[in-house]
């Protein structure tokens, strides 16, 4: 049916405009390419890059301390404010937290990825995939809410610990400086646990992908040459899995760096970068400082991505 109509339109006598356009696409592939690229590039260029640049531009403005108005003259004064001890404190706290969360995530994610890549087969493999993907995709806020339920004073964690007669352990931990606090949901330890819970699943699949690419004859060669399983792991498997770990760490690090909701709901009153950005642009109305603050994660992530690229992490994505 289709072919019949095609045959007729192929006659050179009368060309319908539709086929003229179609011929144009064929003769000039560049034209079609531009036509296809234009809408997405315009959208991302205007909506996203446009507003991003507008934001960056504002970080070079400053705020008048007395009138609270924004002074639209080029200055580095706002960036200077970032170096004030209280702001530097926020940056150090956030980066340290992101690093700890990334390490802990790699530690928890590795055995899961390792088992899924090397031992799980058939039905079990599918089950592992779903077992990782469902928590990864379930609602961000619900996950935080679940931890609010767990960490609450009358919640399940304290109940379990009481049954195990381990309440003293939690109390001793909360008595420590920095990580301690009045209760788990009001301490940095609580923030850390929720961060790890929410971002750790992003680590598993990249590690699993890297491990699945390790050829089995490499492992056989290693054991033929007399390496013990432990040596094979340290000298063959782990170095080959490292790009996967780095790829996963891009997510855990970047997502922790910019989060402002988790530390607001579970944690102390001490700010993270995200909260500082939110507070400065909101009630304080200090858009220049908020903009300068949001440049910090951008710069850190650029350095991080550059390093990750050098380690070959992008092939593992």
């Amino acid at each position: 049916m289709t072919l019949a109509t095609v045959d007729r339109s192929a006659e050179p006598a009368i060309l319908p405009s539709r086929s003229a356009l179609s011929d144009l696409f064929w003769r000039r592939p560049k034209f079609l390419l531009v036509l296809m690229l234009l809408p997405p590039v315009l959208w991302l260029g205007i909506v996203y890059l446009g507003s991003l640049l507008a934001l960056l531009l504002q970080s070079f403005f400053s705020i008048d301390e007395f009138s609270g108005l924004i002074n639209r003259e080029f200055t580095l004064k706002t960036y200077g404010e970032l170096l004030a001890p209280s702001n530097l404190d926020i940056i150090v706290r956030t980066v340290t937290m992101a690093a700890c969360v990334t390490l802990a995530s790699a530690f928890i994610a590795f055995p899961i990825a390792y088992y899924a890549a090397r031992y799980a087969r058939g039905k079990w493999k599918a089950l592992f995939y779903l077992g990782v993907m469902l928590p990864l995709w379930s609602s961000y806020l619900v996950k935080i809410y679940a931890w609010k339920l767990i960490l609450a004073k009358e919640g399940i964690l304290n109940w379990v610990m009481a049954k195990l007669h381990l309440t003293w352990l939690i109390e001793a931990w909360l008595g420590l400086p920095v990580v301690g606090g009045t209760s788990l949901s009001l301490s940095l330890s609580g923030t850390f646990i929720v961060f790890v819970y929410v971002w750790m699943p992003f680590m598993i699949l990249p590690i699993q992908a890297a491990l699945e690419r390790v050829p089995s004859n490499l492992l056989e060669a290693s054991s033929d040459l007399g390496a013990s399983p432990g040596q094979t792991f340290r000298n063959v498997i782990f170095p080959l899995a490292l790009p996967g770990i780095v790829a996963g760490s891009i997510f855990t690090f970047s997502l922790t760096l910019g989060d402002y909701i988790i530390p607001q709901i579970v944690g102390t009153s001490r700010f993270f970068i995200g909260q500082a950005v939110y507070a400065h642009q909101g009630t304080a109305g200090n858009i220049p400082l908020a903009a300068a603050f949001s440049v910090v994660p951008i710069v850190i992530m650029m350095v991080y991505l550059w390093g990750a690229k050098r380690m070959g992490a992008f092939d593992a994505l």
Binding site: T2, S9, A10, R18, S22, W26, L32, L33, M36, L37, P39, P40, W43, L44, V47, Y48, L49, S51, L55, Q58, I108, P111, I112, Y114, Y115, Y119, A126, Y129, V132, M133, L134, P135, W137, S138, L141, V142, I144, Y145, A146, W147, I150, A152, E154, G155, I156, F202, L205, E212, S216, L219, S254, L255, G258, Y260, I261, I265, V277, Q281, A291, P297
Partner: protein, 271 residues
């Protein structure tokens, strides 16, 4: 690694992997228990009793319905926009090599590679600079931007596996560009688009970080939820909404998984 088939996993590895999976799943399961909790003041465990009355209470809450409607509306429009733009971009990038191709794939990925708060505050300051009032469309603008990459990733993976020669064969047999698109390209990339669309919907339905900056006074379901988290007022209703949100987000993921499980790239690997 076929040779491992006969080896048993070491016990320590089994325990570590199992514990990791439990850590991921137990908190979500708790949500389902709390939704039926009799207690309506505290997070007390174990629940003193179970009841289904809160389902009915939540069903009759107009504010929950309003938030749900807005969320569904925003997610649908954003998904539609993202599907068109993401597919176009994927077709262009995988169909040919041209100057700036790498830059374009970077541009698409940027909105989710950078922390969400940056997208959010950029859009907000752009809206205030241009004096655009907050509306459903300001939310859609943000959501569509980060949904493009989801559709794009799925479509690019499929285009990569689809041989370019079938398009040439179709043209040789006399089909014009539109017929080739309708009868050859679309059937080939159809499931990838469907999967990309569903994942984009799930992502948009659940998004809160960018939305807090672009919504103004409007409430999507995640914003409603966030307010309850910051200032808890009605625990039982929040519990039920949490359960519903988990279920609504998981369905598209399950469907997407079953549609792509035989392919070389399983959907949802990158969020």
């Amino acid at each position: 690694m076929r040779s491992d088939r006969n080896h048993r996993a070491p016990l320590a590895l089994k325990i570590a992997a199992g514990a990791g999976l439990l850590f991921m799943h137990v908190p979500i399961m708790l949500i389902f228990v709390y939704a039926f909790n009799v207690e309506d003041r505290t997070y007390q465990w174990p629940p003193p009793g179970l009841t289904t009355q809160w389902l009915a209470v939540t069903w009759n809450r107009p504010d929950v319905w309003q938030a749900l409607t807005l969320s569904v509306k925003v997610a649908s429009i954003s998904t539609a926009i993202a599907m068109v733009l993401g597919t176009l971009c994927a077709a262009a990038v995988s169909g040919s090599r041209f100057f700036g191709r790498e830059t374009i794939s970077l541009l698409v990925i940027l909105p989710i590679a950078l922390p969400g708060i940056i997208t959010g505050i950029s859009l907000r300051s752009a809206f205030s600079l241009m004096e655009i009032p907050f509306s459903t469309w300001t939310i859609v603008l943000g959501h569509a931007t980060f949904c493009i990459v989801i559709v794009y990733n799925n479509a690019v993976a499929r285009f990569r596996r689809t041989s370019g020669s079938i398009v040439e064969a179709s043209m040789d047999l006399g089909a014009d560009a539109f017929q080739t698109f309708r009868y050859v390209i679309l059937p080939n990339i159809g499931t990838a688009l469907l999967v990309g669309g569903m994942l984009a919907f799930a992502l948009s339905f659940d998004e809160v970080i960018v939305t807090t900056f672009t919504a103004g006074q409007q409430q999507t379901l995640p914003i409603w939820m966030l307010e309850e988290l910051v200032r808890p007022r009605q625990l039982p209703v929040t519990n039920v909404v949490a359960m519903v949100v988990v279920t609504v987000t998981l369905l598209p993921i399950l469907i997407a998984y079953y549609l792509t499980r035989d392919g070389d790239q399983i959907a949802g690997m990158g969020k």
